[in-house]
Symmetry: D2
Subunit: 407 residues, 4 copies
């Protein structure tokens, strides 16, 4: 049992240390609301995070991280996410963090050294090139249109990607490409340096987000040659690998944005504690109390469901996929509600950039769409529920919907 | 670590055993929708539960129960609650279950033998007499109007209670009474046999619930003599004892009704699996899928937040009180939504008593009021959040709501 | 313009008169919460309604009614619905009211005399036999399974109907039957006295509603002979006629239940005006104020959308069908929310039958299912919106969803 | 009756003409999503609007407008609002439009000529200076801190205002100032040219809105001399005048933003008509249909409640104030929901600036705060409901919350 206790202590201590670092060092260094962190400040803050012993909590110790297991990430990532730039400073922001997890699991020793090590150290950044312009891979990843054809010693990559977060600052991309020579529905992951011949950054998609730096542009791959040693994981298994990346990646977004929701709630609490309306502190007015309580409930249920999903994902990948869908829908909607209520409670300061809340609201809005929209997840959750029940009845459970008049 | 593993196995096994017993034995024995379980059938089913090794899971082993710790009750109580009569059959229904917990914690050895032992064994039932007609103890327990005055060797009890669930079938009541001789705000718990002189059952409050049998009548205590040995717990500490009872009692309601919500969801799943509309299975229609998914999310977040609250309550009574408030509001509202969606998905059968769903809906509706209404809990949750934040700022955290123009 | 003014005055006066009659005469005569109005009391109250000049507001003057046009029904029906028995007393309750409208529009002079006249006078009751046991006509009316085959001088009717509200007390039924001799999808409406040979009342579906008296049983038609003069409307046009009945019938349900929602809100207002909690009137507490305000908003938007739908239905039957769908979904859900909030605000009295609110909640719950479920209407509303927009773009409107990067 | 018919035709015709102008001329001229309309383009488009006969629909004919009465504004303003720049082009945007209404009602002939005429013609712009930095006039207008002291022939104005929309481009301000010489709570409206000595624009509040051009800065009035002829309305009656401005101003915001919500819904409809997912048009998928239908319902109930409030406001100022509160809360929340659903249905294009939807979402978000926050209005609505019911009971209505057990 001592191992578990040690981890628990480590996690609680690390969360506390992260909390202090983020609140004392990171929050005061935030750029104005709605602006992105510039790379120089990022590097400086990352150096201070290393010194404070809070850098890269999720990265294995041998790669310079703190070695926290997935089931323990949540409290630490929530503390990181208390600042919109906190995860970048701690090097646990998307898409790099998900790419690290994927590389850690399936990279060869050489890929590990060449791609993962500098990424984990914060020396370079990366991107994940899956989404494509319509009618390619979007809500339905199966529509993947980018192709890689077999050539001598490797693959010739051709296609256009879209909404490739971080591409402007990335050293390399993990590219999903259909590889028809490996089977009709086969796709393969390829590691592609962004300065390789034939890689071109296209139309810049403007957003109101700033936490993921490096833009969200189109990226064009024109006859890019990829050597066999840059194939990531098993050829033809890109979709399986992508799923293995997505489950945790969804949850870490939940953890980080939940931290931002706590920040918004604390901001609202500071406002209602001190601001008076009609002669009473705003926080004593019931309509404000209703909003505050609903946010406390949203935060608590979000934290609880993320913990459950992280435990489930650790124990059982398949059950974990459903659990992470459930958590993703709930948390992505809950954090939006929490920040929206904080905006409302802060009135004129809330609906302008006098406070960062409106920027936070725009920061989290896209999470209801990326990593699977709420609608796609709801569809998947319902289908799995129907299948689960079908199996139970198949295994002998009594059918429950027999109407009295039909008996 | 072996102790924890053993408990986990025991809990999982017990949950599985309870599941089989409830589905195979209890569900087929349910009375028609909207009707209460009759005492004879109850006793028979309790005997079968004992034989199946699933009776009284929460009761200490020495009293004939299964000795499950509070943090492990949830999966078992959820299985019990899959039938509206399941908790009564397993002797873990309110108000008896909460009374057992309270007696287990604060009863004297004699009280334990006289009151707790037969209650735990299912030989008798009990009630908890706190609520009073307006303007007495209701939403505000502090308005307690029932009085007990000091007499030689005991107390003389006088007052009227209301909404005393189970009173019609109870052998004894735990009565909350103001005891002014012990202090201005002092109240004391008294154990009162229902056949004591001066105890009279009054106006029967009609309800549409049936899971708690024994009615919800007014009970009048007229000059009832209570001996000192029937004082429960520390004299003058009734409110503190009541709080200690209420935290877990709220959570066990959550657990049981969550089981009933799972039953409703399974009923809806059985309906949509097999029923067609416009040529497609109902379960393939997106608007149905949206309802099903929302219910899956409500169930998962409810289970997760109850687990969190039960762990918190085990570790820290004060934090546990807030956690159980949060869980109570979320779960009481979520189970209502889940059952309501199932009603909707079952159409005409849903909105009549052809299926039991409409009865389930009426079964859980009052839970948003009893054990503290959603509004009262929201008020308390908001106040504690404000206090928590005030303490943080007092301890040095930076105030967050400084507007840009005010800096 | 004088005509319009006169109607407006008449309507406002009639609404005021109905208000006084319902509040002074009908409300005090209501049976206990959850019980149905007995026929004798009904007849007596109907007599008093006639004397008060408020009976049958929607019925043409020549048939003994007050001749109000459809666009003016809402304020009067809302006043009637302030009591759950009010519409029955005023003879404007479902299903009779919808049947009167239908007969008024398409009955022959003989049918008018034989069926409509006594119905409008309150001398007899009626039912509308469309819904069938699965897999017949339910959510999808097109699945109609009851058959009428051509015989000499009429039709031979065979089939089983279900959920036939009012059948136990009805003198006649309007039966929807498939008539294959008139075309593959042809259905015909038949007027069938309930005492005709071959009509049999079957399984009684138990409900928690009481406002529609006469039960909701199955009705079996076994080789029932229907003469040609009892064909209602155009043979083969039953679906069209049913639609013409359903549009207004949905709206009148909205009007009546909106009246009941106002009653619930007034009950809650009476409670919060006078009841104190923690030393303040409940109505001064913000969380209560939030509930009250949300109900005011639900009531006002419901009344406004019903008015709009009634005007639209008067002007344009096709646009009116969509408008009545929109109104039906909004109002059926809004009245449920309003009553639910009133239940909550009345606490223990709300969740029991100490007040009639819980009975009101059960009264309106089925309205989200009958007359087209919320889900079916949402499906239809969305389809019509897509079709509307397709037509606009077809007529030259610019397509709006062109992404910047796609231009 | 011919007058009414004529107005109705005029209104329908004007709405149709405005529709064509906005869709054919204004929409194609919109700046990129998230950017403001530049003044030169504005003037050019205003010229074209004049030529098209759609300029200034709400302005009296003698001032160059189209003379539409308030009860008929809604369809026309909705068409204007279909483009975020439409109302500015038609010169019916806030704050100018509200200022025109106010001047039209209470300005002297000289003020009319000097201030209203050029404003109505679109030659100048204006602002309304009421809101102040905390703890001055904000959610509670009664906290007004700006002072005007009596001097010879006029007033000496001193104070700081905040969130003064349009101030950067305004020719004059209508300033609310406390005038203690006229009474303890007396405030007076003053017309102040922005180039008057002592007027200074301060801190610019950054926003994510662009529809109201001219910024939202602080404005400082330092010893500004205001002559008696620039007092607007009755001295000391500023609050009453402000209320008279605010009722309609709230409603016109509702109308304009409702137009923008229709635009968002049409954008979503265009997307789901043509985009496929899993082999079906998105618009045939039920979860999308549910979102679309909910938006249709939100739009229809919003339009209906605005019509009702505009009619009520025309008939009865006092009832109109409550009605406009109800409409404001419902519509401000409904338009947010509609646009949010459109964002969701447009996926990646929705949550970026590839489409203007995300900008629309930020455009309407502040409306839940300005012109009275949802919370303030809910508080006021609840209080008026309680007062209404108190008056009814006082006038003899029976109290409704008598519990059965209490009778």
């Amino acid at each position: 049992m001592s191992g578990a206790v040690e981890v628990a202590q480590t996690t609680a201590e690390l969360a506390a240390r992260t909390r202090r670092f983020v609140r004392d060092v990171v929050v005061p260094a935030e750029p104005p609301a709605g602006s992105a962190l510039d790379p120089a400040t990022r590097l400086d803050l990352q150096r201070r995070a290393r010194e404070a012993g809070v850098f890269a909590p999720h990265v294995p110790v041998e790669l310079g991280g703190l070695g926290l297991p997935l089931a323990d990430w949540s409290p630490v990532f929530q503390e990181a996410g208390y600042s919109p730039i906190g995860p970048a400073v701690l090097n646990c922001m998307a898409p790099d963090e998900g790419n690290m997890l994927l590389l850690e699991r399936i990279a060869t020793p050489e890929q590990r050294e060449r791609y993962l090590a500098p990424l984990a150290a914060g020396d370079v950044r990366s991107c994940f090139a899956m989404t494509e312009p319509h009618p390619g891979a979007g809500s339905d990843p199966g529509a993947l249109a980018t192709l890689a054809h077999r050539i001598d010693g490797g693959w010739l990559l051709e296609g256009e990607k879209r909404f490739i977060s971080g591409a402007d600052e990335a050293a390399f991309a993990i590219v999903m490409a259909r590889t028809p020579e490996l089977g009709d529905d086969a796709a393969t992951m390829l590691l592609v340096p962004m300065d390789a011949a034939g890689v071109e950054i296209g139309h810049a998609i403007r957003t109101l987000e700033t936490a993921i730096t490096g833009g969200h542009p189109h990226v064009r791959f024109s006859r890019v040659r990829v050597a066999d040693e840059d194939v990531l994981g098993t050829p033809g298994q890109a979709f399986r690998h992508a799923q293995a990346r997505l489950g945790p990646a969804r949850l870490t977004h939940c953890m980080r944005w939940l931290g931002l929701a706590r920040r918004a709630q604390d901001t609202a609490l500071d406002r209602v504690r001190t601001r008076e309306l009609f002669g009473s502190p705003l926080g004593d007015l019931g309509i404000a109390q209703g909003l505050l309580a609903d946010s406390e409930i949203d935060i608590a249920t979000s934290a609880a469901v993320v913990d459950w999903a992280a435990r489930t994902l650790t124990d059982d990948a398949r059950a974990g996929a459903t659990a992470s869908s459930v958590a993703k829908v709930h948390v992505s909607e809950a954090v939006g509600r929490v920040i929206d209520r904080a905006v409302q409670l802060c009135g004129g300061d809330g609906v302008t950039l006098e406070l960062p809340l409106l920027a936070f609201l725009n920061e989290v809005r896209p999470f209801r769409v990326y990593d699977g929209s709420s609608e796609t997840h709801r569809w998947a959750i319902a289908r799995r529920a129907v299948a689960r029940r079908r199996a139970e009845v198949g295994a002998g459970e009594a059918v429950l919907d027999r109407a009295e008049g039909a008996r």
